[in-house]
């Protein structure tokens, strides 16, 4: 064992010492835990009597359990819908807002607020907002009651903008349909006009009964997915898109100017620039974001646990929560075998989804 002598041996010893905490963690809290869970997934175990080997019975029971199937459906639809919606929304916004922005620190601070707060805090405020007589329904009620104002505003803006654009074009300027300067003027005129129409009672807010949508305390479904889950999806998307947009924005601003200039010399339209320059440049970043997004959303637990006191369990249950529920929630003794089987299933599912995403996903070219 000559290679163990001297400085080499010294380095090995130090490496071992340095790595001790990590080895403990990986060994006990991860590897040992992983294999024990795997073993228990093939057993019937209730934490008190010793585990009894039952082969694949637990996995079979999983697919016969309505709660599991619901959780599976919820997790998959949640993962797909949330990940893709938030990525593409963030991308679109980043492209639309792509320019040098000053005071980015301030915006970043604002956008990061939900990320730094505990999921419990965000969840509690969410529950409070979505109460039947809560802020969300209140805003919807106000919006609905004031629709005459909104319609007249829109009308005025369209009229004003078309007038200005046509006038500008007649004078020979290369005015585009959504010309920003004219648009500001139109918006101002629209706003003032709508205000005065209301002031002189030409239009009035309607007073209709309050919007009474039950967001969480219901089991109703929309397109097959329970409404509480849609609400949680909206919450996730709403809190993730701003920061993701900033991330894409940074990526966009790293795209070398020369690429755009070459495209413009070739006479490319904004759509062509987008498709042939911007998106390919962002491919690797997007791939990363989508992969991480899928992993995170497949394993969603916190929001399900926090809202499970308010929304029906079967409407918000996800795979991760199903595991927890089998251990601590279902009443009676913990069903460790089922929980472990579901957990292993979740891990495998995550892996499969990531592999599929690598194969099929937006990013193959970059790899």
């Amino acid at each position: 064992m000559s290679w163990l002598r001297g400085p080499r041996r010294n380095e090995l010893i130090w490496a071992f010492l340095f790595l001790l905490p990590l080895l403990w963690t990986l060994g006990v809290a991860f590897a040992y835990a992983f294999f024990r869970a795997l073993w228990w997934s093939f057993c019937d175990y209730d934490l008190f009597a010793s585990p009894k080997f039952v082969g694949l019975a637990n996995y079979a029971k999983l697919f016969a359990d309505l709660h599991f199937l619901k959780a599976l459906f919820h997790s998959l639809s949640f993962a797909v819908i949330v990940t893709f919606t938030q990525t593409f929304l963030a991308l679109l916004l980043a492209i639309a807002l792509n320019q040098k922005i000053r005071g980015l620190t301030f915006f970043r601070a604002a956008f990061y607020t939900p990320s730094i707060l505990s999921s419990v805090i965000v969840g509690l405020i969410f529950i409070w907002f979505t109460y039947r007589r809560g802020v969300v329904n209140f805003l919807l009620t106000v919006a609905r009651n004031y629709y005459p104002y909104f319609l007249s505003f829109l009308g005025l803006v369209i009229v004003m903008q078309s007038t200005l654009v046509l006038w500008g074009r007649k004078r020979g300027f290369p005015v585009r349909a959504f010309d920003p300067v004219y648009l500001w003027i139109s918006l101002f005129v629209g706003g003032v006009g709508a205000f005065f129409l209301g002031h002189f009672r030409l239009i009035q807010p309607k007073s209709m009964s309050p919007v009474d949508i039950i967001w969480l305390e219901t089991a109703e479904k929309f397109l097959g997915i329970p409404r509480p889950l849609w609400a949680i999806m909206a919450l996730n998307i709403g809190t993730t898109v701003p920061t993701m947009m900033l991330f894409f924005l940074a990526g966009l601003q790293d795209v070398p100017r020369e690429l755009y200039e070459v495209a413009e010399l070739d006479g490319a339209s904004w759509w062509a620039k987008l498709w042939y320059v911007t998106i390919p440049a962002l491919r690797p970043v997007m791939f990363l974001v989508i992969t991480l997004g899928l992993i995170g959303t497949l394993q969603m637990f916190d929001q399900a646990a926090i809202t499970s006191g308010v929304a029906p369990l079967d409407s918000v249950i996800t795979l991760a929560y199903y595991v927890y529920w089998n251990m601590f929630g279902a009443g009676g003794l913990p069903r460790v075998g089922m929980a472990a089987a579901a957990a292993i299933f979740l891990a495998v599912l995550t892996l499969v989804v990531v592999l599929i995403q690598r194969r099929v996903g937006i990013g193959e070219k970059a790899w």
């Binding site: 905490p21 409070w128 995550t350």
Partner: protein
């Protein structure tokens, strides 16, 4: 044609500025949409009933004239405008205005109520012995009736200081309460009865009454309030985890970055792999591990199970994979020449690590510390699994319990829940505001694998 082209430069510039204005406006709107709910939640923590419909921004506790009144009442009651308290012998005056429709006669009735107890428990009844004087100070005749202003003077005839003075003022039937020096908590009895939770709370006690309530009201069997315990638990664990992380993560990161040993790449790959496996897989075994006292070791120290203890939150995982990866990446960015030079000078690995590497790692360590603090403070899943005893809860779990206890349909006290939420958000917000740069750095690094 030449004229138009000259205009074109400035013309395009205006377009660009207008477009930029739209971008900033949109970003501003987004910022408002994201931060707005939290700000509204903070304001609503001061409301009597955050579930009111329609929700309004008319919040008495945030209305400065009420602050002045609370201050004055506090001074009158005991020379303490900040915290109030009704000292023996002191008298305080409150002006109330009632509306009397024609034909309605009668005096006010003033009643000092029992100190409010929460829910089913009523504390014993030490109501102060009081001398009450009601004076009709002014009257305004209006077309529909009289507006009568009364001055109510209350004098403490007892021998002790009372921290709380809950009051009810009742007008005759068909009269209506209009206003008073200090806004009442609620007006009932079809408008005849105005209730005050506490007249002698002082300014701070008045403004922050629900925060104080959330902090002090829920007590354990020895009478100690539980919410501060939750805060303490969260702090101890967060600080502890930061120290543990600062100690262990750089060690592992450095070993992976610069030391040579067989299986180095495999180890690194394993670390990355752990980040993909959900907590749900490993928590079952770790839970049982703790229940059995970590292979029985804890029995040596007299404990059968490590569940429900601080240990449960530190063990069994000692280092976070993210921290290790972050430190590794940072160390790899340090030029190798520095270390090689030190080695030539005869320094050993440990010396190099402590004298050269660590001091250079300060920025990365700062990020690690902040991320660990925030992660620990907000941690939800693992504490939910291992903590059963109410006194051992960390803040997130405690808040969840608050919602069950105070948010149930029966006795909705969402102002307490929101107050608890605000209190638990403060430390993280402070850290964030001070160290924003590092946070963002950390988020960016966590995305890069």
């Amino acid at each position: 044609m030449t004229e138009q082209r000259r205009v074109d430069q400035a013309w395009f510039a205006r377009r660009r500025r207008a477009k930029a204005a739209f971008v900033y406006a949109f970003l501003g709107a987004m910022a408002l949409a994201v931060v707005g709910p939290f700000i509204y939640a903070v304001f609503s923590a001061f409301k009597v009933n955050p579930l009111e419909w329609p929700p309004s921004l008319n919040i008495p506790r945030l209305w400065p004239p009420n602050w002045v009144s609370a201050w004055n009442l506090g001074i009158q009651a005991g020379n303490n405008g900040w915290l109030g308290g009704w000292a023996p012998g002191r008298a305080l005056s409150l002006d109330v205005v009632f509306f009397y429709p024609p034909g309605v006669e009668g005096d006010l009735r003033v009643e000092i109520l029992r100190p409010p107890g929460r829910g089913t428990y009523q504390p014993p009844d030490p109501r102060p012995v009081t001398h009450v004087e009601i004076e009709n100070v002014e009257e305004h005749h209006g077309p529909e009736g009289y507006e009568k202003t009364f001055r109510i003077t209350l004098r403490n005839l007892g021998a002790q200081t009372y921290p709380v003075l809950p009051l009810a003022v009742v007008g005759p039937p068909n009269s209506r309460f209009l206003r008073a020096t200090l806004a009442p908590n609620s007006v009932r009895g079809l408008g005849t009865t105005a209730y005050w939770d506490n007249l002698v709370s002082g300014v701070l006690g008045y403004i922050f009454s629900y925060f104080i309530q959330a902090w002090t009201e829920f007590r354990d069997r020895l009478g100690n309030p539980i919410f501060p315990r939750w805060v303490r638990n969260s702090f101890i664990i967060a600080v502890g985890k930061v120290m543990v992380a600062l100690l262990f993560a750089p060690l592992a990161g450095y070993a992976l970055a610069r030391l040579h040993f067989p299986g180095r790449n495999l180890l690194f790959f394993l670390v990355m792999f752990t980040m993909m496996v959900p907590q749900q897989v490993t928590f079952i075994s770790n839970y049982v591990l703790l229940r059995d006292g970590l292979f029985g070791i804890s029995r040596l120290f007299g404990r059968d199970s490590l569940l429900n203890s601080y240990w449960a939150l530190f063990l069994p995982a000692l280092v976070s994979s993210l921290g290790v990866i972050m430190m590794k990446q940072f160390f790899e960015s340090i030029p190798v020449e520095l270390e090689e030079a030190a080695r030539i000078d005869g320094a050993g690995i440990f010396r190099i690590y402590t004298r050269i590497i660590l001091p250079m790692a300060k920025p990365a360590l700062a990020v690690l510390a902040i991320l660990t603090f925030q992660g620990s403070w907000n941690e939800f899943f693992w504490p939910l699994v291992v903590l059963r005893d109410m006194e051992m809860f960390t803040l997130p779990i405690g808040l969840l319990f608050f919602r069950q206890y105070y948010g149930a349909a029966g006795g909705a006290n969402w102002n307490l829940i929101l107050s608890g939420t605000v209190i638990s958000a403060i430390p993280v917000i402070i850290v964030f505001v001070l160290f924003q740069r590092h946070f963002v750095e950390g988020f960016r690094l966590s995305g890069i694998k």
